[in-house]
Symmetry: C2
Subunit: 423 residues, 2 copies
Amino acid sequence: MKKVTEMTKEELLELKDGLEKQYEEFKAQGLKLDMSRGKPGSSQLDLTNGLLGALDDYHTEAGVDARNYGVLDGIPEAKKLFSDLLGIPAEKIIVGGSSSLNLMYDAMVRLMLFGTQGGKPWKDVEGIKWLCPSPGYDRHFAVTRELGLEMIPVPMKPDGPDMDVVEKLVAEDETIKGMWCVPLHSNPMGACCSDETVERLASMKTAAKDFRIFWDNAYGVHHIYEDVALKDILKAAAAHGNEDRILYFFSTSKITFPGAGVSIVASSLDNIAEIKKHMTIQTIGHDKLNQLRHVKYFKNADNIRAHMKKLGEALRPKFDMVLNTLKEELGDTGLASWVTPKGGYFVALDTLPGCAKETVALAKEAGVTMTGAGATWPYGKDPKDSNIRIAPSYPTLEELDKAIHLFCLCVKVAGVRKLLAEK
Amino acid sequence: MKKVTEMTKEELLELKDGLEKQYEEFKAQGLKLDMSRGKPGSSQLDLTNGLLGALDDYHTEAGVDARNYGVLDGIPEAKKLFSDLLGIPAEKIIVGGSSSLNLMYDAMVRLMLFGTQGGKPWKDVEGIKWLCPSPGYDRHFAVTRELGLEMIPVPMKPDGPDMDVVEKLVAEDETIKGMWCVPLHSNPMGACCSDETVERLASMKTAAKDFRIFWDNAYGVHHIYEDVALKDILKAAAAHGNEDRILYFFSTSKITFPGAGVSIVASSLDNIAEIKKHMTIQTIGHDKLNQLRHVKYFKNADNIRAHMKKLGEALRPKFDMVLNTLKEELGDTGLASWVTPKGGYFVALDTLPGCAKETVALAKEAGVTMTGAGATWPYGKDPKDSNIRIAPSYPTLEELDKAIHLFCLCVKVAGVRKLLAEK
């Protein structure tokens, strides 16, 4: 088949007619499907239903009554579980509530209100900027936006943020106070930080003394096609005297229950002490029973890894379906490109420039909700209007089949219209 | 018996010898008891152990999967439960995580960073002040202190904050932005806001347009000796066009499990909308399974009330013991005064001026930990050094018996020493 991008006006017009007819047929089906959020499907959640009844006792190993007040930073066995899973010393871990996003928000708020390690509160510093590897996670960008930080997109490459760009920016500008980074199976690009990227992030010179990397390892054990190892950034940073630079976040949101999991923040001992100093004003402690429930259910890190294998197997058919359909429907058209992720929750697709918004609008009109076009960029502004995040996890396979076919059709309709408009 | 305060120097010296001998005997017992925090005892917590297994299904009434992401402001049936219990319309309620202190801290942080209802962010206003009815709750004071608000103590009377003082201050000074208030069985005084106090708080003129009352109804259904009704402050404030003034907090921390309960914030519809606007940046939602667990366990508000009767009965012997012992040991001495609470978690005692610190230090030395002297005042500074908070809930009756006797002895030792020093 001839590439659509190489077609004549006449060929395009004919193609457009056919596609729009197909689109109307889809619309007539009255679909109501959602591929907008990285939300696990129910069958995935069923795999950890044992968690609901896992609490056979409410005492911690040390004999503490987990029903009662106390233990600000998490029960020791929960710290150990995450320590074993992620290779972070337990004393560098604080176990929080069900939301790691909340831990990130709170961490950012503390930097604003109080500063860190003796530095000026960020609220008192003019024109703070923040690096946002893009395409990236819309909720990250929402946090930095809400707090008034100027967001600077930096390119996201398959092996992590473009370090040439990052290094240059942070070395020169002391108002650049930090950056977001999802180091493994990044949202939405599926990028995985190489050892070199981690090493460069850990060692780079920053003009800001209180530069912080929000290391959101949300998909740290969420492999689907390939197990990917991640270099230990806390250790790497410590080797360069930069351990305070790293705030490491993780959660079981996509291991057990998104609505009722356990989250952690890990960092240098100095940062952990500082966080606890503020945290003790904010709360008496997070839900210890839920921490204990998770420990009793999994027992050890190997069981989490085994469970993640099952989850990966449960997700793989969905990713297969998306990737195969994209290939079949769009592979030879020249209308889109995408990256095959090794894990995580997303497939990121790029349409022809200027087509993402229309594609998403077309899908929406026909009953399939995608993540809003632009959402993967700071301020919702995709400079090329081309990036779309596909989240295949929530629909059933049958629903996904319909949704992704419709989506491909929308990519084509928008693409052909665009090409025609340029003729 | 002659009042100790009326004794001659010789009588005091003799008394002191006897008391110090008793004190040494106590010390020799090597006690290790804790009356420092309002922490329920294990036998109290046992009364809701059914909660641990209450989750027979994970769907809400509306069919939402509570395991998954979503429902930012709490599941509807949890809102209804609190609505029925407190008489607050469900749409004015947000259900949070396990800690209402965290909700208060977050609310205060939002006022600092963003302001409210179009007003200037408080971080940009010089010299903000906050009224602190005192003696009051140390964790409240810690929040306002951490955020840099200047705390102004106002007297706490048996029917709530001294409204003559409050009204005068807030009418004159627009940098006074709000106040703490525990309206029922206040920590530590056991004060209960009368209808008149509520009405005056709701209607008073404030120089600050964005004046806020943090209405921490922590002991709203925690009656021990007498059921006390509380006038509806949201309704009262609404009648005067001041509903935005009220941020109403409540939790099940001392109904079910302190470490794993459910909290709420309630306010005007405008405030609720504003809170949700920020909250949606901070988190995807709080633990819905725990909300559902509470709903399934209690089923309705009447069952909570019935449970609170049981809890009141469980606490009453402890309060009886404290109050009876205080009366027996200190009643005729003139060395202390205290208030008999109708409910809540505390008995507040006043020593002779200048004796609280020494009393607490003496108790500590003999193995009984009390709340730090001064803790019930902003900045930990009790101007008279006389207020001590007694928290009888955590020890067993047997432990409490020893602890409160020792405590009374310490009050006497410190009092006699003080009187002698003044001779």
